[in-house]
Amino acid sequence: MSESVSTVESQPREVPTEKLDEVVIRFAGDSGDGMQLTGGQFTSTSALVGNDLSTLPDFPAEIRAPQGTLPGVSSFQVRIADYDIHTPGDAPDVLVAMNPAALVKELKDLQPNGVIIVNTDEFNERNLKKAGLASNPLENGSLQGYRVYTVALTTMTRRALEGSEVDSKTQERSKNMFALGMAYWLFSRPLEPSVRWLERRFKDKPALADANIRVLRAGWNYCNITEAFQVRYEVDRAQLPAGSYRNINGNSALAIGLVAASRRSGLPLFLGAYPITPASGVLEEVAAYKHFGVTTFQAEDEIAAVCAAIGASFGGALGVTISSGPGIALKMEAINLAVMVELPLVICNIQRSGPSTGMPTKTEQADLLQVMFGRNGESPMPVLAASSPKDCFETILEACRISLRYMVPVFFLSDGYVANGSEPWRFPKAEELPDLRIDFRTDPEGFLPYLRDEETLSRPWAIPGTPGLEHRIGGLEKSDGKGSISYDPANHERMTFLRAEKVARIANEIPPLEVVGEPEGRLLVLGWGSTAGAITGAVNLARREGLSVSRAHLRYLNPFPPNLGEVLSRFDQVLLPEINSGQLALLLRARYLKDILSFPKVQGKPFVRQEIVDKIREVLA
């Protein structure tokens, strides 16, 4: 009986359920096993249930690795909680391992006494060898100290699909749904959302939809019927601010934010890009939004991509380009042209691990100094960084606002962690979004291409097609006002000053840096970009422990918020965790002559909360 598989939903078996305030689950398997999808489904369902959550996908390197090998392991970690959380969790409580390689690779992260669910069907000679195992861990006792549940997942899946018309390769591929069904049972989640989703997804392939749904149910029923699990878990809905929520990852938030900026500015979006990990997703998503009148241009290289965006901007579009470190390096000469001609342009750098090709699928924050200084001559540019997946939306809108208002190219920074990670987002209504409209210059009366606005110092945007405003721009130094070529020494000094002053004045408009916790004291943990979650989690925890520590997070890296220096001066020590060797620390030390406790981590991985908590303790000890 326990080996038969029912695929019709039955009543939940009477088992004790245990309430948890949070749980971290990691689904791990071969690239082909569909773990990203499985984790994604578990995430959306948990979102619908009302948990707060945070996810961390981890793919193998771009190039495909052989099946069953360690480099081939793909994993998806999701943390669900009944209170508001900020990271995908340090160590998983539950590990679903679809093959030996997945078990080997992920085991070290698992909590002591954590739950392991393994697909025994994959634990054969060949796969053990591929995973570099001499003997079978399920038998050699090496899993002592964990709660191991062994399931013949593949066999069960096949059984569930006996008589189904889908071919056996497809049958086998649907085993991830069996695992998902099990997870749903174990954590008391409803099946319906995934059922609906499968129906939507395969609406032209009913047989496929049916098969997957059957397997999903089978997994659920398996747990329900067999005695394998003697307890179920529940994680209550979190007390999140009221409102409508969706789940979103960083690249989607960026893509949607760009379309929103286009709508709110009334300017057509022109996105020039050349595919590169981890930025390609933004190009691909925006390309699907053609009905919003956006143009995507997949260029021959990064240089053409940014040049086309500059050309589009000259024509009156919202010119944007996206890339990652190596591609950004290639764009710099052209970006410098935009600095000189003072046209709006937004450059998104989805940072990855460097230098050079580095580790393309791993995250890093090490391009800050590159975007600040990687151009010849004095070439100041505003730089903004998103602190989380959903924050990409707000931050890109702000980047576009600054670029349009000040006629200046702006850098938007994100990274692989923010780009691929996801979290619930209390999304806004379109009409609540900032109004980004600007006016093109149309009046020939007194028009000069480099006559500046008194407040912002921005020059007029006079687009081709406007009668009477015919003018020429270019990369040579311009005379102040008239904008014709000038080699005059005093003019060059003045224009250099004006380009810098224009960027500096943005500070007058940006919100002051907010300190969470005491406004002054022994220790401030300062961060920027994707470290926000780990820092917030760590500082909250440290404060609960009664430690005197505050935190603040920078979105604006150039110019800095006007009160930054004063904030820093209010604390004895400033701890600055960065996924680099201390790049923001360098800028702060130079600017404020304040000793900054740089806390670098350069492993291609985000900080985990515990690392920062420990550091806080050490500093305050």
Partner: protein, 337 residues
């Protein structure tokens, strides 16, 4: 924007900037030809944009009283592509040199041509880097002695028109700075083409590469050295029009009418040939064995890149409503009270 044909004159296209080319530079003649042709096109002045890279030739926009963008070295086609995609209503002309577009800008050039972006590209070929004071360029002859090649250039040169055809060009032409009326005709034809119109213009740099094209521009030798391509006419040339080009098997050869050949033995020029083979043959007519062909080598209709991209967007807009709120909301949401 609607195009009411305004009455414009050459002077309308002359800017107030004082021209800074060397006296005697071929660029002056080209500038004059362009300033003569533009007013004839019945397009409002503000609708013209000239995009250039870096080089003596690339100073061109400053001397045209239109919108202009003097960009960076080699990137003009890329900037112009973005501009044309964003603003299909504009007449976008690219002015570039043999270094700017054949050397550092080679990739953007061939990709622009491949995509058939609606740009007119004027390549001023003086076979030298003028602005940087005389280094050899990708069109300089093998063995040419220049500042950077004291014992002669070790590079085989590009055949620009062959490269353009290899990249899939739909409009290819060649003219010469001082052949004013011929040049103007070619420019008019380029202006009419929907896709990328690639025009090579032989231009004399009298400072660093004087006499580069003398062999064919000198009054005496001109008729002997130049092959005027005329659609539908046999490929005949010579002072007495007593020579022609024929195809012998797959080989081109010069026939002398004195030897009993006549125009009927010669290939009849067809600039509209759907495949690029015939045009490519013309690019292989090289001195001294053959006269140099000038005129239209290829002119075939093909939807421009910008028109295809625009069509995709329009279709999408007609197919789906675009509500920002829907986009932000996404497929799945939940509510927290």
């Amino acid at each position: 924007m609607t195009t009411e044909a305004p009455v414009l004159a050459k002077k309308d296209f002359q800017s107030d900037q004082e021209i800074r080319w060397c006296p005697g530079c071929g660029d002056y003649a080209i500038l004059s030809a362009v300033q003569t042709v533009f007013p004839e096109l019945g397009i409002p002045k503000e609708r013209f944009v000239i995009v250039s890279g870096i080089g003596c030739s690339s100073r061109f926009p400053y001397y045209m009283n239109t919108y202009g963008f003097h960009t960076i070295h080699g990137r003009a086609p890329a900037v112009a592509t973005g501009l044309k995609l964003a603003r299909p209503d504009l007449q976008v002309w690219v002015v570039t040199g043999d270094g700017d577009s054949m050397s550092i800008g080679g990739n953007h050039l061939i990709h622009t041509i491949r995509r058939n972006v609606g740009l007119k590209i004027l390549m001023f070929n003086n076979r030298i880097y003028g602005l940087t004071k005389g280094q050899y360029s990708p069109t300089s002859e093998l063995g040419k002695k220049t500042k950077s090649s004291p014992v002669g250039s070790p590079d085989y040169p590009f055949n620009p028109l062959a490269l353009a055809l290899g990249a899939g060009a739909t409009f290819v032409a060649r003219s010469v700075d001082i052949f004013q009326s011929h040049l103007r005709d070619v420019l008019r034809r380029a202006a009419q083409h929907e896709g990328t119109a690639y025009v090579e213009i032989y231009q004399n740099c009298n400072i660093f590469n004087d006499h580069a094209f003398e062999y064919m521009t000198e009054k005496e030798s001109r008729q002997e050295q130049v092959l005027y391509l005329e659609h539908g006419k046999p490929l005949v040339f010579g002072d007495q029009r007593d020579k022609g080009i024929r195809l012998n098997g797959t080989r081109l050869e010069v026939v002398h009418f004195a030897d009993g050949f006549g125009p009927d033995d010669c290939l009849v020029w067809d600039e509209e040939r759907e495949d690029p083979i015939f045009a490519f043959m013309m690019t292989q007519l090289l001195p001294p064995a053959f006269p140099t062909p000038i005129g239209i080598l290829r002119s075939v209709p093909a939807a421009s890149y910008d028109s295809r991209v625009l069509a995709q967007i329009t279709a999408a807009q007609e197919a789906r409503p675009a509500r920002l709120d829907d986009l932000i909301r996404g497929p799945e949401t939940w509510v927290v009270e």
